[in-house]
C-alpha cells in the first residue's frame, strides 16, 4: 500500500534535500537503471529521461504534506527544492526498509550538477546501443547543450562507478 510513494519519500529523506525538479527526475532514473526498484516509467523528453508518473507522485506527496517544496527565483527560471516534512517522516515509519547501497548511490548523485546528471541519464537511456552510437545519439538529441568530449568521458566514468555499486 502506497509503497511506491514511500520509496520516493525515503529517497528524498536519504538525500536530505534535492535541489531541482530536473535533478530529482534524473537521480531517480539513474537509480532505477542501477536496478533499485522504482516503478515510475520514463520517456525521453527535451531534458532527457522524464517520468510523468514521478512528477505526479511528487505533486501528490506535496499535497499530502509529506514533502515540502521550496521555490527560489533564479532570474531566468524558478528552482524547486524538496525535503521531507515531519508528517513525511511519520509516513516513512510504515514503509519497508530501503535497499542496501541506495544511500551511497544517492550521495554520489546528489553532489553532481543537474546538467551532468542529464548527460548521464540520457547516455543510460541509450545504453542498448554500441558506445559510439550511444554518444552520437545523445549529441543529436542534446545538440543545444554542446556537451564536450571531457564531459562525455566523465559521464562514462561516473556510470562505471555507479554500476560497480549497484544492485546486481
Amino acid at each position: 500500500m502506497l509503497q511506491e510513494h514511500a520509496k520516493i519519500v525515503q529517497f528524498i529523506s536519504m538525500a536530505n534535500e534535492v535541489t531541482g525538479r530536473k535533478k530529482l527526475q534524473k537521480m531517480i532514473y539513474i537509480a532505477k537503471k542501477m536496478n533499485f526498484p522504482f516503478a515510475e516509467k520514463y520517456e525521453l523528453h527535451m531534458y532527457g529521461p522524464y517520468s510523468e508518473e514521478l512528477t505526479l507522485r511528487i505533486e501528490e506527496l506535496r499535497e499530502m504534506g509529506f514533502l515540502s517544496e521550496q521555490c527560489t527565483d533564479k532570474g531566468s527560471y524558478v528552482q524547486y527544492s524538496y525535503q521531507v516534512t515531519e508528517e513525511g517522516e511519520g509516513f516513512l515509519e510504515t514503509a519497508d526498509a530501503p535497499p542496501e547501497m541506495l544511500s551511497s548511490c544517492i550521495a554520489r548523485m546528489n553532489v553532481k550538477s543537474s546538467r551532468f546528471l542529464e548527460l548521464v541519464s540520457t547516455l543510460l537511456y541509450f545504453d542498448h546501443l554500441e558506445k559510439d552510437e550511444q554518444i552520437a545519439k545523445v549529441l543529436i538529441v542534446k545538440n543545444k547543450l554542446n556537451f564536450t568530449a571531457e564531459e562525455v568521458t566523465s559521464a562514462f566514468e561516473f556510470i562505471s562507478e555507479m554500476q560497480a555499486n549497484s544492485v546486481q
Binding site: L2, H45, Y47, K74, Y77
Partner: protein, 432 residues
C-alpha cells in the same frame, strides 16, 4: 518508381465512425496495415476494462491507429504541404509513425505491464526494429527507414515538428482518442471542432502551432480532455475491474513461483513469469487469450485465483470508498491487519488506487520545461503560449486533480459479517 513513392491504382478507404473515411493511397501504408503485427491490434481493446462500465467501448487499438494516421495525413496533405516550414520528405515517415505509434501495446496493457514490469514503448521499438513483417515492409523503403519511424515514436527524431504531430499536448493521438472514445462510450463529452483545429494548424521549426483565430477550438479540445479523463478514463468502476485484473496476474505469477500445479497450464505466461520471454511470445498474446485463461482459471483449486477470475469474468467487482492518504495512511496498516485476522489476504483484497490528471500545463523557460506548451501564432507572426491569451485555459493550467480510492470485496464482508464480527469492523472502518 521507388517503393516509397508507389501509389495504389485506386485509393482504398476504411469506413470509420469518427472520421467517416480513412483514405489510403500510399502502397507502403497499405502494406503496413496488412502485416500480422498491425492486424494484432484488432485484438487489443483501446480502453481495456472500460467496456465493463460503458458497454460500447469495445473498439480496438486498430481503429485508433488508423484514426491517428488519417489525422496526420490530413494535417500534412491538406495543411502543411507546400509551406516552406514543412519538409515534404518527411511525409511518409510521419504517416508511418502515426499508424504504428501504439504497435507495442499488449493485452490490457496497463495491468500487464505493471505486473510483469514491461513497457509497451520498448515493444513498439522492438517490433519496428526486429525480425517482423512490419520491419520487412519498412525496410523496403530504405534500410534506415524502420529506425526513423522508431525515432519519431521514441521522440528522438531530429525534426521536432514531426515528433510534435504524434506526441505533444495537441497531437493527432489525443485528437483521435478523445473523439473515438467519446463515440464508442456514448458520452457527450469529448467532442470538439477538429476540422477547425486542422485548418488553423501551422508548421514551425520546433512544433505545430495554432493560428490565434483557432483559439476557441483549442479551448474546447482542452475542456473535452478534462471531462473525458474524469468521466471515462478514471471511472471508479472501470478502475475496480483494472484492480482485479492486476491481482489475477499477480496471483498467477505468485502461484507459479510457489510451484503450484495449474489445471490449465499457463503456457502463454510462463516466459513472462520467468522473465525469459522473446518478442514472439509478446506478439502472440492478445486479450482473447487472457480472457480464455481467466475462464479456465475459474476452475482452479487455488481459491484466490478462482475467485478473482470469477469476479472479472462475471463483473462481480470490488466496491470502493474514498480515501485520503495524508490523513489515513495509518488506517491502511490497521485494515491490513484486520483483513489478515479475518482470513482475507489483503495483498489481493484490499487495494488503494490513485487517479490524477493535469488537463493542460505550461512552464516558463528553465529547468522544468518538460511539457511542450501549445503556442498560438498571433496576427504579427509571434508565438504566444496558449494560457496567456485564453482565460479558460489559464483557469485550469497546471491544476492537477487527484482522487484516491480504496477497493475491497464488500459482498464478502456483508455476507459474512453476522458470522465473523471482524468483517463488520472492517466494513465500519471502510464505510463509516
Amino acid at each position: 518508381m521507388e517503393y516509397k513513392d508507389e501509389k495504389l491504382v485506386e485509393e482504398k478507404v476504411f469506413k470509420d465512425p469518427v472520421h467517416r473515411y480513412i483514405h489510403v493511397r500510399d502502397k507502403v501504408i497499405w502494406d503496413v496495415i496488412g502485416t500480422s503485427e498491425f492486424q494484432r491490434l484488432r485484438r487489443i481493446k483501446q480502453l481495456g476494462t472500460t467496456y465493463l462500465v460503458f458497454h460500447g467501448a469495445e473498439h480496438s487499438r486498430f481503429h485508433h491507429s488508423l484514426g491517428v494516421y488519417e489525422i496526420v495525413r490530413r494535417i500534412i496533405d491538406d495543411g502543411f504541404s507546400g509551406r516552406p516550414e514543412w519538409n515534404s520528405d518527411e511525409r511518409l515517415v510521419t504517416m508511418c509513425a502515426a499508424l504504428l505509434h501504439d504497435l507495442g501495446h499488449g493485452p490490457f496493457s496497463h495491468a500487464f505491464e505493471n505486473v510483469f514490469d514491461l513497457d509497451h514503448e520498448q515493444f513498439t521499438q522492438a517490433i519496428l526494429l526486429g525480425d517482423t513483417e512490419v520491419n520487412a515492409v519498412l525496410r523496403r523503403v530504405a534500410p534506415d527507414f524502420p529506425q526513423k519511424v522508431a525515432d519519431i515514436i521514441g521522440k528522438t527524431y531530429p525534426d521536432k515538428l514531426v515528433v510534435s504531430l504524434i506526441s505533444s499536448q495537441i497531437d493527432a493521438d489525443r485528437m483521435d482518442y478523445l473523439q473515438r472514445d467519446a463515440y464508442f462510450t456514448g458520452v457527450s463529452y469529448g467532442h470538439f471542432d477538429m476540422e477547425r483545429i486542422l485548418r488553423v494548424m501551422r508548421p514551425t521549426e520546433e512544433q505545430a502551432v495554432i493560428k490565434y483565430s483557432g483559439m476557441h477550438a483549442v479551448e474546447d479540445y482542452i475542456m473535452s480532455r478534462y471531462q473525458m479523463y474524469w468521466q471515462v478514463y478514471f471511472h471508479p468502476v472501470s478502475r475496480s475491474a483494472e484492480v482485479i485484473l492486476t491481482k489475477i496476474l499477480h496471483r498467477a505469477k505468485q502461484l507459479h513461483e510457489n510451484g503450484y500445479i495449474f489445471k490449465q497450464e499457463p503456457v502463454h505466461f510462463r516466459s513472462f513469469f520467468d522473465k525469459t520471454f522473446k518478442l514472439e511470445d509478446y506478439i502472440a498474446l492478445d486479450e482473447s487469450i487472457l480472457l480464455t485463461y481467466f475462464q479456465m482459471w475459474m476452475k482452479e483449486d487455488d481459491p484466490i485465483l478462482a475467485d478473482l477470475c470469477y469476479r472479472f469474468i462475471n463483473r462481480r467487482l470490488f466496491q470502493y470508498a474514498e480515501f485520503d492518504p495524508a490523513k489515513e495512511y495509518r488506517k491502511i496498516g490497521e485494515l491490513e491487519q484486520l483483513f489478515k485476522d479475518a482470513g482475507i489476504d489483503p495483498a489481493y483484497y484490499l487495494v488503494t488506487d490513485s487517479s490524477s490528471d493535469l488537463p493542460y500545463d505550461f512552464y516558463g523557460p528553465g529547468e522544468e520545461n518538460e511539457r511542450l506548451p501549445i503556442y498560438l501564432q498571433m496576427p504579427n507572426g509571434e508565438l504566444s503560449e496558449l494560457s496567456r491569451s485564453s482565460d479558460v485555459v489559464d483557469a485550469i493550467s497546471g491544476k492537477r486533480r487527484t482522487d484516491h480510492k480504496i477497493y475491497f470485496p464488500e459482498d464478502v464482508l456483508e455476507a459474512g459479517k453476522e458470522q465473523n464480527p471482524l468483517y463488520g469492523r472492517i466494513l465500519h472502518m471502510l464505510k463509516g
